[in-house]
Structure formats: structure tokens, C-alpha cells
Symmetry: C2
Subunit: 231 residues, 2 copies
Amino acid sequence: MSTSLPKAVILLSGGLDSSTTLAVAKSQGFGIYALTFRYGQRHDQEIEAAVRIARYFEVVQHRIFEVDLSSFGGSALTDQMEIPKGRELEQMASHIPVTYVPARNTIFLSLALAWAEVLEARDIFIGVNALDYSGYPDCRPDFIAAFKTMANLGTKAGREGKGFKIHTPLIELNKAQIIKKGMSLGLDYSLTSTCYDPSPRGEACGQCDACQLRRKGFAEAGLEDPVKYQV
Amino acid sequence: MSTSLPKAVILLSGGLDSSTTLAVAKSQGFGIYALTFRYGQRHDQEIEAAVRIARYFEVVQHRIFEVDLSSFGGSALTDQMEIPKGRELEQMASHIPVTYVPARNTIFLSLALAWAEVLEARDIFIGVNALDYSGYPDCRPDFIAAFKTMANLGTKAGREGKGFKIHTPLIELNKAQIIKKGMSLGLDYSLTSTCYDPSPRGEACGQCDACQLRRKGFAEAGLEDPVKYQV
């Protein structure tokens, strides 16, 4: 990997969206600095998927950063609360679910911003998506725009006119379009992990919001999902 | 401490400004949830001071949260870079120094926001100060306003109209005014730790930006600083 490429920090959870986002950033000619968080999620399978994706795309650096959001509580993704299964898809966009982790993308983007400033990178990529999504407030375009404004006021680089750009290449795509884009960029979706509640052997539950949105996406794209489902 | 008081999250470093801010929040009738970060600072004396202050003001809860910003590098406060000594005071406000920690207040406020949302608190206090300060971009009023806008778009509580307020009670005070305010609220400044580079025995260096601003403040307030200085 040439070090002369412009650098970009990519938030990489190991899921479908963030892995596709990484593929997009790579295709745009960036040297990839992937950032994954161990934030107290209920299982480590996402992080293992992030490691596989980072290797697959030969990133310049992959950092796994510890920030224990589970100590604050308040989310089914970090607490022992039950993960909702079988929600209607129409419900998802209109109702913020118990899997919401308070201020998660704000925290993740803030840490990406710190790393980007140190790297002298100006580009941060996040795989948020405002169409086929779970209703999270911190996935919406107005939040991303407000984060960027704040970031450029709150950093040395931003104040000196070397503004940060927050790239959201998936924001207006539906799941099927995201999957087709990733496929066209050579992404192997068997490496990704989407499920909120996988079995210990790594099989996806098939019924949480994340699984449902993923399956619908593959079905609409007319493609086979390489991931194994329990149901 | 009654649990019926409205809750506020206070960023508490253990320094003069954040300790005064905590005293102000307490005097306004809030139940205090103090948040201190172990972020890879060069010494633990700040954290020990934060523990003393939290006890002194009988906070409801004091949380020390680990977030290792030193792993990103880029600051004299977390790296082995030399701390500047004897800078002219006029230089400080016009020039962002090497003690700047990339995106620090953005990260700290984001974590405070997460905790506040879980606590169902609407009030966050931060002791930033735009007069006698070290030139940091993330201490300025426009940054704080932009953070608040972003926070209310990026959280469930904010989207539901239960907006967060970011209180900056010191933002327009000079150091002498801050000290007088703290004294009037019963703050014992011998408990605080301000120096960027104290001796192993805890004596302040007297020459870093933080020490200089503090000493000038006590001098202008006509008060004696209870902290011991090496020089």
C-alpha cells in the first residue's frame, strides 16, 4: 500500500454497510485507516468480521479502540435487554428501537475525528443509511451535517481552514443498492457480520432488525446471501 | 443527597475551572453526576484531584471513564513531547499550542451526552473559558453552540424534543473572576490540580500555560494560591 495516497479514516463495524463503505473509500483512491470499536457489544463476532474485512481490503492500518459504552447502559445492544425479533419493517423507520445506543455515532465520529486530525487526514467515512435503516437518529443527514460543522469549529485543523469532510456514500441507497455496489467493488459479503444476536457458532438469528433488513436487501437485489441463518 | 434533584452531568478534570463549574452546578440545585476521563494524560494527579473535589461536594455519582486518547498521539499532554514553559500570556490566546489534544472536548462532551441520555439528565456542564485560556479551539462559544445543535439531532432524547443544554458558566469570566466565584461557593482550591507538568511529589511547575494563567488569576483576585509551586 503506497503511503502517498490521501488518507481516510473509515468507521468499520464489520457489518454490511460499513464494509461496503470501506470498499467505496478504497475505490476512490484513499489509503484506508480503519477504526473499529470494542464498546461493550454483546458479542465479538462483529469485531472478528471487521478484522477479516480490513485484511481483505489491505488497509494501511486497522485500529480496534476500547470505549466501554456498556458502562453507561441504556441499550439492548450493550445490556442484557432482549433484542426485538420479527418487527415489521414499516415500524423500523418511524420508531427508535431499544437497540439504540445513546450518542454512539457521535462518540464514534468524535474518536475518528481525533485520529484523522493526528494522521492529517481530512476525510472520514461512515456507512450511515437513511432509507433501509433502524430509525436511529444519528444516521440521518441533518445529524451528519451538524457533526461536520461542529468538527470544523472544534479542531485545530478545522480552525486553520483544513476542513474535515464526512463522507456518507450509502446515505441515499437502499439495502439492495448497497449490496450491488459492494459486489461491484469486489466485496465478499460472507466476511461481514450483521446480526445483533448471533448464535455462539456465528449463525445469524434471521429475525432482528439488522437481519431482516439484510435479507430483504439480498432478496431485492436478486442475490444469494452467503451468511448462514438459524431461521 | 436527595435523588429528586434535577440531574446534571459535569465534566470534572480536577482543575480550577472544572471544579468551579461543579460548584456552580451544585449551587444551582442540581444533583451532580461528575465525569472524569483517564485519557492517557501524563500524570494521575488531575484524577486524584477530581476524586477529592467530587467527595468535597458530595456528588451523587463520580465516574472515571477510560478512553485512551494517547494511543492516537499528537499532543504534548499525552505524548512525550515537551510541555512549553514560560510562554508569554499574549501568545496563548492567538496560537493553538502543542498541549492541544485533538478533538478532546468533542470526545468528552459526546461521552457526557451518552451518560446524560441514559440518566435522563438534560443538563451538561463544562468549564470552558474563552478569556484567560490557552487558545484551544474547542473552548470557544461557537463550538459549544454547534455541539448542542449536533447533540439534539443525534440523540433519541433530542429528537423527541427533550433537548440537552450545554452550560458554560465560566465562558465569559476571567481567571480572577472564576476564582472569586469558586471561593464564594465554598470551593477549597487547595484540592484542585492545574499544572500540566507537576513534580512526582505533586508540586506545580509554575511555568506552563496552565500554571501561569492560574497564578495571574490569584494575583489579580488579590488572593493567595494554596497550591505549592516549584518555581
